[in-house]
Symmetry: D2
Subunit: 138 residues, 4 copies
């Protein structure tokens, strides 16, 4: 059962991973082939140099992949992260982080996703890129 | 300049990534070939099923790798995470997470690390395993 | 110095990695933002079930990333693979493998690439997806 | 059904991935907790500088993980590589490559492995390190 309501997905993620709420994760748009998500910038995310810290970026990647799986399979599914691989490409600006997430594959037992992350108002080049796989319950 | 004082390394990480302090990261032991670190368990780390959430595990992996690089190169170095790959092996218990981190290589420009993570008092099998690379400044 | 001639890039790769020639690697198109490459199918690539084996797919990913770096930086550069991460999405058909490769970032010391691989004449969905980083000489 | 005969495992891999035979892959020792494998060095594996090329190293990692899964689960299992992540640590010598492979986890549906690779007669430090996951048939 597909889910298309960004807020419904966001609330499911808040319930599943309370930490996502505390770091300012938002689901903004849900399309057939991609989901747009965001982390609202806050001071405590900084690391020296005034940029968003790595744990926030990794958490955004993970929550965004979870969002597109919920969008595709519906709320019954309790996907569990199996593998996450992330490349950090440039220091993000001290600003909101935007993520665009796509499914690479959704199989019977595993889903594979890809996430490209940018700084809002930045230079247009990605800050980080992640891929991940999720185990789906039988 | 090698650093062997766990608290000194911990404080450098708290300064660099304030979020590490807020999620209860500790440096416990520093040896020539490995560093032992920990995340002190707290309720808000949970996800449904009573286990520590993925973002906490990823943050532990990243902070632990940073700790062994500080231990080896000293406080002058501002290593930046380049790549992090993590496999989630089993749901952690609702308990402290323990990490053992080793250097795979420390080169002139890149350092490579490996982290094995377990639940304290758990079944003795790893909860997650991560590898990562860090860019070292010239 | 940019290189735009597919055959010139292909020959540089054959010289650098003779094995690429022996497994039928070809550079087909070089664009500003992407490179199209191919592995010509041969019987000995098979694994049971009649599909192309994993080592061929990984070699295609690696050679394709090397191709886009040569296209962007020219023949003087001797990039060295630092990290490669690959997700196998479905069994390929017993047919040529096609790869589309993009640069995620080209920095002073590291380049990051992404490769999507499909079977020619297949179901249109990717067979595998890889990301990788390459160390660039000073 | 556990398999403890190195040659039996090697032959199963040769049957499954004929390319493994052609690149000189051998299974040398099978223990309860680890498998030792090797690639016999040959001229055509070289890349400029006289070292073994990346595709050979990746193929060794993949075949070695397959070997430990066969050793643990027996010949009935047709494990399929799901994810492979490899860090290249230093240029190998023009010599045999030795691999030590361990299981990180063997579950009902996924197995996770780790491989450390060295050059025979080299400086004792690893040439490459890989982790991977394999889908196990129901």
């Amino acid at each position: 059962m597909k889910l298309r309501d960004p807020l419904a997905i966001q609330n499911l993620i808040y319930k599943g991973v309370p930490m996502a709420q505390s770091f300012g994760f938002q689901v903004n748009e849900v399309h057939d082939d991609r989901v747009l998500t965001r982390v609202v910038y806050r001071e405590e995310m900084q690391r020296p140099g005034g940029t968003v810290s790595g744990p926030v970026i990794m958490s955004l990647a993970d929550a965004s992949m979870y969002a597109i799986i919920l969008a595709t399979l519906g709320p019954e599914e309790m996907a569990v992260t199996s593998n996450l691989n992330i490349n950090f490409l440039q220091r993000p600006a001290p600003a909101d982080l935007l993520a665009e997430t796509r499914l690479l594959k959704i199989g019977r037992r595993l889903a594979f996703c890809e996430v490209t992350m940018l700084s809002e108002g930045g230079n247009g080049r990605p800050v980080a890129h992640a891929t991940g796989s999720y185990a789906l319950p039988g």
